[in-house]
């Protein structure tokens, strides 16, 4: 029993240490969209605008196709 408690305490300490380590690590090395001086944020914004515009043009295309069908 004593052994088990000690093991658990050691494991918990290890867990805390791990968490602390990954916290420090995260501060030094930004991940996800924060990485690369946040250039990925610009990328996502620019690509969102591009996709929006392209969808708009594609819908316009379909609408005109329908009009052409009706008129012929």
């Amino acid at each position: 029993m004593k052994q088990l408690i000690v093991t658990l305490i050691v494991l918990f300490a290890r867990l805390v240490a791990n968490a602390q380590d990954s916290l420090n690590h995260a501060a030094q090395q930004p991940t996800g969209l924060n990485a690369g001086n946040k250039i990925y944020v610009v990328l996502v914004v620019a690509v969102t605008i591009l996709i929006g515009l392209l969808l708009y043009v594609a819908r316009l295309d379909r609408k005109i196709s329908k009009l052409e069908k009706h008129s012929s």
Binding site: A46, V47, L50, L54, V57, E68, S71
Partner: protein, 230 residues
């Protein structure tokens, strides 16, 4: 739905240019050591394709104007006008993006660079084309005068934007003398930049053609409606 593979190609190429254009490593020497471009060198993937696309579109417009003069079909006139219109829109975007870029690398949005002035004059010549065209109501006369003017406009445009700036000192690459940025074209445009730049040119040109065809289809629908009513 007619053949639409090129529309998908345009979307894929543009997405590729945006992603690769923002992420690929720049040639360090050209961007940081030989110039004050730094990361703004990536504008090369977005500003320059505007002008390449415009050049291609107004060349198509020129071809349709010549076709109209050979065989006066009103459809050719519509094609010439709409290609010139989308081309002019691209030119305006090119001028604006150029001014923004110039503000941070040459110190002023407008520094009376020969290429800036040439591009502005060339755009005004094309604006005059639309004014001239809309000032006439007779369809045949309008088509013929507009076609002849369009041919002249094209052959003034080319020296204005491509020849004259190279004969004098220019901040733009390719100018005479040592002033300005190192040439992005030719030998200093390295291989990684080429593989983003040329797909970008093709993607933007295809998108502009797509928008042009949409306008043309609306135009032809209107035309059909008018002839049915008569």
């Amino acid at each position: 739905m007619r053949r639409y593979w090129w529309k998908i190609l345009s979307i894929v190429l543009l997405l590729y240019t945006f992603i690769a254009g923002l992420l690929i490593p720049l040639p360090y020497k050209t961007a940081y050591e030989d110039s004050n471009l730094y990361e703004s060198m990536r504008n090369f993937f977005f500003h320059v394709p505007m002008w390449f696309g415009q050049l291609i579109l107004i060349t198509v417009s020129l071809v349709y104007s010549i076709k109209y003069l050979r065989k006066p079909d009103i459809t050719y006139d519509f094609y010439a006008t709409e290609f010139a219109r989308t081309g002019t829109v691209m030119g305006c975007l090119g001028l604006i993006t150029g001014a923004i870029w110039a503000n941070y690398t040459w110190g002023a949005a407008w520094s009376n660079d020969p290429k800036q002035i040439g591009a502005a004059i060339a755009l005004l010549i094309y604006v005059a084309y639309f004014v001239l065209r809309n000032s006439m109501t007779d369809m045949d006369k309008r088509g013929r005068v507009a076609a002849v003017y369009n041919i002249f406009a094209y052959f003034i445009y080319i020296p204005m934007i491509m020849i004259l700036p190279r004969l004098t000192e220019s901040l733009h690459p390719g100018g005479k003398g040592s002033e300005g940025n190192p040439g992005l074209g030719g030998s200093s445009l390295d291989a990684t930049m080429r593989i983003v730049f040329w797909p970008g040119v093709l993607g933007w040109t295809l998108l502009a053609t797509w928008i042009t065809t949409l306008r043309l289809r609306v135009r032809l629908l209107e035309e059909k409606k008018h002839t049915v009513n008569f």
